[in-house]
Symmetry: C2
Subunit: 775 residues, 2 copies
Amino acid sequence: MLMSTYSSFNLNYAPGVQSLVPILYTAWADHILTPTEIKTLRRLAEEAPFLTAEDKTTLLQWGQPTRPPSPHLFRYWEVELQRAAEQLPAGKPQTLAELGFYMAQQASEQPEQWDSPEILQYLTAFEAALGQVSLDTHRFIFNLPEPDLEGQAPGTPSYQDLKAVLDGDFGEIRDRMRTFLSDPVFQYREYNDKHQHREQVVEWLHLLSEQGFGALAYPFAQGGQHDMGTYATVFEMLGYHDLSLAIKFGVQFGLFGGSVQQLGTAPHHKKYLEAIGKGELLGCFAMTETGHGSNVRGLETTITYDVKKEEFVVHSPKEESGKEYIGNALHGELATVFGQLIVKGESHGIHAILVPLRDKSGATLPGIRVEDCGTKLGLNGVDNGRIWFDAVRVPRANLLNRFGDVSKDGQYSSPIESPARRFFTMLGTLVGGRVCVPRAGLSAAKSGLTIAIKYALKRRQFAPRQNEPETLLLDYPSHQRRLMPKLAKAYALHFALMELSKRFVAHEEEDMREIESLAAGLKSAATWFTTETLQECREACGGKGYLWENRIADLKADTDIFTTFEGDNTVLAQLVAKGLLSKFKKAFNEEGNLALLRYVSNRVTTAVTEQNPFAVRNTSRGHLLSEEFHSSAFDFRENRLTASLGQRLRGHIKAGMPSHEAAMKCQPHMIALAEAYVDRVTLAAFQKSLRQDMPATAQAALRTLYQLYALHTIESHKGWYLESDYMLGVKTKAIRSEVDRLCAEARTWANVYVEAFAIPNPLLGAAIVQTKDKS
Amino acid sequence: MLMSTYSSFNLNYAPGVQSLVPILYTAWADHILTPTEIKTLRRLAEEAPFLTAEDKTTLLQWGQPTRPPSPHLFRYWEVELQRAAEQLPAGKPQTLAELGFYMAQQASEQPEQWDSPEILQYLTAFEAALGQVSLDTHRFIFNLPEPDLEGQAPGTPSYQDLKAVLDGDFGEIRDRMRTFLSDPVFQYREYNDKHQHREQVVEWLHLLSEQGFGALAYPFAQGGQHDMGTYATVFEMLGYHDLSLAIKFGVQFGLFGGSVQQLGTAPHHKKYLEAIGKGELLGCFAMTETGHGSNVRGLETTITYDVKKEEFVVHSPKEESGKEYIGNALHGELATVFGQLIVKGESHGIHAILVPLRDKSGATLPGIRVEDCGTKLGLNGVDNGRIWFDAVRVPRANLLNRFGDVSKDGQYSSPIESPARRFFTMLGTLVGGRVCVPRAGLSAAKSGLTIAIKYALKRRQFAPRQNEPETLLLDYPSHQRRLMPKLAKAYALHFALMELSKRFVAHEEEDMREIESLAAGLKSAATWFTTETLQECREACGGKGYLWENRIADLKADTDIFTTFEGDNTVLAQLVAKGLLSKFKKAFNEEGNLALLRYVSNRVTTAVTEQNPFAVRNTSRGHLLSEEFHSSAFDFRENRLTASLGQRLRGHIKAGMPSHEAAMKCQPHMIALAEAYVDRVTLAAFQKSLRQDMPATAQAALRTLYQLYALHTIESHKGWYLESDYMLGVKTKAIRSEVDRLCAEARTWANVYVEAFAIPNPLLGAAIVQTKDKS
C-alpha cells in the first residue's frame, strides 16, 4: 500500500489512486471480485493515462480476487468515502466517478491538474463498465434515505428472514457466489457441439480456481483454506448454474484432488496439491470400470510391483477392465487409478496410484488409450471418457500410500491390518462427494421449483365464468398438490443436508460410520427427489417447460445421472440398511438367538405402546400438526421396519439360507428401511430449524412448510401405516384433508418461499419468469 | 407385364427380366419395398447394360412401393423360382444372382449370349446391394431344411406366439413397418444442430408418403385407403423409431390433413387432400396460442368476415394471441388456423380456416410472421414455431365449413344448433390424435423396457461368494420390482389401446362421447406410464443408460412432452371424470336430490356387499390370482370414487358453492377417479386378450403378466383400499408377497416377453444390447 502526504483525507494516497477508491470500494463491497470486475480493473490499470506506474501497482494488488482488502482497510475506506461524499459540492451528481474525481483533486497539491474532463470521462466509463452498483452500497456512501417498502399484508414473512435461516452460517459465501455467478461471463448459451461446451466449462473452471475456490478444502500449506464447509457450499451454489461446471469442479478438486489429499501422503501433497487447486494440473479419478461400477472390490485393473525396476505396472487386462465414464478424461494430465495391488504375486486388494496420462502438449503417453464416451443425456460440458492402460510403468513414489505402502524391496505394509477395514477406509474418502452431490442436485430442484411456482403465479387458464379473469394455475388444488409438497420437501432436505455437512466437517473418527450411512441415505433420497421434482416442474409448466429457453430441460437432463453416480441409489440404500442392522447383527453374533429375540421384542413392544386405541383414531388438528405426533410416526416406521427386517433375515438364516441370499430376498425391505431412516433424520433437521432465532412471521411460514412436509410424508406411506395398525382409515383421511389445507396455506406465501432461495435471475435463466434479482 | 415365348419356364419373360425375378421376388417377399430397395432397383434399371428399354419399363413398374405385385403373380413367381432352383446345376452357389443368371440363359434363344461373367457380376452386386435376404425366403426358394432349434426348457413360450397376440389383426402392417424402418436410410445418427435433424426428418417424411402411409386414413378418391386402423398402427410403429419423425408424421397427416378431412367439405378434400397425403403440401395445425393452450374456447385469434370483399380477415390481436408450438411451422405452406369467427360483429365461437403461410419458394407471405420455438428438451427434428397473423385476407372458400358456414352475403349457418355442442363436435376431431399419441409413446416405453431388460440379463454385479460368478442384475428382487410390473403394464396398456383403436375405427356416432372419454383417459395414463417407465429404465441401466449411444436418453427426452400435448394430462383426467359424472349429474338435474341420494346409496350398497368379513381377509392364492377378485376390486375403486365424488360435489353445491368452485375443490378426487376408470378398462382389455386362441405355453406366460398387472395395481392403491375397509392389512400384505413372487415368475420369461415386441435391432439402436434381429 502506498502512503503519501498529498491527501486532505486520511487515506493519504496519491491522487490517481485516490480517484479510484470509490470504484475499488464498490467492487469489493460484496466481498468478491467477479471476472468482469477483474478484467475491468486490469484494463483500467493499463489504460488510464493519469495513473503513475506506482498507482498501477497498487491497483493491481487490489485487483487479485484471492486478496481482498483487510476488514480494517475496508472500514477505513468506508469512513473516508462517507466523509468525502458529505463534502462533495452540492449539485454534483452522486456517482462514484464524481466522488473519485473530487477526491483526486483534494488529494493533489495541484488540484487544477486533476480537474480535467478527460479524467472524469475515464472514471465514468469505468464505473459503467463495472455495472450496476448495489443500491445498498450507494445508499450507504451517499447517506441516502431507505426506500419506502410497499404495503404488505400483515403476517407476510420477509424473504430475507427465510433466506437468513436457509443460508445459515454460510450466508457470506452464498452471497459471494450469487454475485460471482451472475457475472456476464457465466451467461448460459446454446452450444453447437459438446466440444464447444467443454471448452467453455474448462474456461469457467479456471475462473473458479482464480478465486481460490478449488483449493478451499486443501491445507494452508498448499494454498488452501482447510475449509470443507465453504467448499461444499461453493459446490452447492454451482448447482444453481450449469451443472456441467459443478461436476467438472467436483471431479477436479473433490475427486481427483481429494484422492491425492486423502489417500496420498506429504510428498504427494507437496508435489501436486497446489497445482491441482490452481487448476494448473487437471486430473481424473479413475475408479469405475466398464465391467465393475457399484462393485468396486471387483475392479480388474492391476497395479503390479516390479521389484527390480522399483516401478509399478498399471494394466487393464481386458477390454471390460477399462476405466469407464471418467470425468476430465480428455483434459486430464494425471489420473488417480484404482486397481488390485499385486506384490510378489500376492494381491493386497484395491489401492490407488497416480498415472500420468498426457504430456504438456496434450498428447496421450505410451500405453494410454483414451476414448470419448460421446454424447450423453446431459452434462455434455463434462469430458467423460474411457481409459485403458497397457502395462504402463510409473515410479514407486506414485502409489498413494496413506493406507497401504510397498517398500523398495517389495514389502507391503499398512496401518490398517484388516483388508476389509482398509478397503472401507479408502472408500470412506468418497463420502465428501456424497455430501456435496445431493446439495448441488437440490439446488437444481430449487431452481426448477422457483421457475414452476413463479410461472404458476403468472399463468392463467380457464375462467370460472365468462368475462371473469381466468384462474391462476397455482390456485388450482391439483397444481398446489403438485408443487407445494415438493417445495416443503426441498426445505426439509436443505436442512438435513446442512446438518449432514456440519457433522461431516466436524467429524470425529468414531462418528464416521454413521456419517457415511447418513451421506449414502441422503444422497439417494435427495437425488431421487431432484429427478422427481424437475419432472413435475417440467409438466407443471406445460409446453413452456419443454423449451430450452426455460432452463428446466437442461436441469432435468443434467441431474438425471445424479441418482447413479457417486454410488447408485439402490445400492446405497442397501448400504444404509446394512448399517442400521449392524447393531442388530452384533447382538446376533455375540449373544445368539436369545439376544436377538430380546432385541426384536423390545422394539416391537415399544411400537405397540404407541398404538393405543385413542391415538390410532385421533384426528384432532392439534394432534395432527404436533411435532410429537410426527416424530412418533416417523420413529415407529423406522423401528418397525428395522425389527421386521431383522426378524425376516433371522428367519431365513435360521432356515439355512446363506446370508447373501437372505439379504437378496429382503432387498426391497432394506430399501424401505433406508427411506424411513432418512425421513426420520430429515424430519428432525427440519424441527431443529424451527428453533432458530427468527421473526414470528418467518417462523409461522416455515412451520407451515414443516407441517406439510411431515404430514405429506406420512400420507405417502398411509398404506404401510394402515397395514401396521398404527392408524385407522379415519385418521389417514383426516391427514389427507390436512395436507390439502396446508397446500393451500403454503400457496399464500409461495413466492416468498422461493424468493428465499435467492437465486439471481441470470442463474435462473428462464425466459418465462422475470423475477426481480434480489442478490 | 411383358409376355414372350422365350422362356423354358412358364414366366415367359424376356431374359433380362427373367434374370431379375429372383431379386424382385425377394425384395417383395416381406410385402414392402424399402427406400434402399427402391433406390437399388432404380439404379439397376438405369445401369444394367443387358436390359432393354422394355425390360427397364417392366422393372420400374414393379419398383413402385405402392404397387406390389398381385398375390396371384407373386405366387406364380414363387412356383417358378422353386422349379428353377431345383434345376440349377449342382455345384452352383445357391444365390439369387446365380438363379437369375441361370434363368436368363434358359429363357433366351441364344443362351451363350447370356452366359457372360459380366452379367453374373452385375446380378451379384445388386443382390449384395439389396442386403441380407431373409433366411426364411432363401430356405423357401432353395428348399433347404429347417434349422435345428436350440433345446429349450419345457414350458417356454415362443416369442412368436406372444408376438401374434400382441400384433393381433395388424400383424402384416407391423411386419412391413419393421422391415421398412430397418432400412439403412433410417439409421440413427447424431446431428450437429436442430436444422440438420429437421432436414433429415422431412426427408424421411417423404419416404413415408412415397409408401402411401400418409394418405392411409384419407378417402379412396384422394389416393387414400380409408383405413384409420392401419394409419394408427403405422403411427405406433414410428414410435419405435425417431419420435421426431412420428410427430412430424402426425402433424402433417393426422392434425393438418385430418383437420382438412374432418372439418372441411368436398371442395377442400378435392383441392388439398391428395397433395397433403403425398407430402407435397406441408401444413400446420394452428390451434394453441401462447396465452391459451388447454382452454381452447378462450383463443383470441379472430376470423372476421368482410362481406364487401367476400373474404375473411385472420388476425392476432395481441402478442400473446400468436399461435404457439406449431409443428411444421418452418416447413409448412398452409395452415389450419383456429380462431373466433366474427360475422357482422357477432361472434360464433371457434372455427377453423385455411391460411396460406408461404409461397412455393418458402418465403412467408405478407402479414405472416413466423418465429422458431428454438431448441427443446427433445423432438428437435420437429420444426415447432410461433405464428402471428396481421390482418391476413383469405378467400371465403378457405373456411373449413363442415360445422359452420358463412354465405356470400354474411349469413352464418351450422348443422349443429347449440354452440357448445358445435364446439365439442369440432374438438372431437382431435380424438384421433389422442388415440395415436399414446400408442407411439408406448412403443418408446417398450423400446426402453427391451433395452433395460436385455441389459439386466447380461450385466452382472457382486458375487455371492468369492470366485463365484457375479449375480445378473435381473436376478435381484429390487431390479425385478423395478422392471417387471412395468413390463406387465406395458402389455396391459397395449391391449387397452388396441381395444380403444378398434372402437374408434368402428365408431358409431352415439358411441363417440364414451370413446372420447376413454381416449382422454388412456392418453393420460399411457403417456404418464411412458415417462415413468423410461425414467426407471434409464436408472436401471445406470451410467450406460445415460449415454446417447444407448438410446434411452433420446426416448426419454422425446416422449417427455407427450404428457402435455394433445391435451395436458391433468386437464384430460378431469374431462374423464366429468364424463363419468354426467349420468350422475343428469339424475341430479332431472330428478333432484332424492334421485341423487338413491343413486349414491345404490352405489354404496353394491360396494358394501363386496366388503364381507370373509373377503376382506381372504388371502388364499386362488382368490388373489382370480380374475373375479381383480374385477371386483377394480370396479369397487371406480364405483366408490364416483359415488364419493358425487356426494362431495353435491354437498358443496347444496351449501351454495358455484359449480365451478365445487369442481375446483374436488380436483384431486376427479383425477383419482379418472385413473380408477382407466385401470378398470385396462384390466378388462387384458382379461379379454387371455381369451384369444394361442398355445398353452403362451397363455400361461401371458397370464403371469396379467396377474402381475392386476395385483401390482391393487398394491399401488393399498392405502385407499385399507382406508375404505375393502381389505384388511393381512390381505394387502399377502398381495405384496404375491407381487414379489409374480415378479420372479415373470423374470423367467423376461427375454421372451420383450422379444415378442419384435423391435428390430436397428430400431432399438442401443449399443449395450445386441439382440438377434427377429423381424
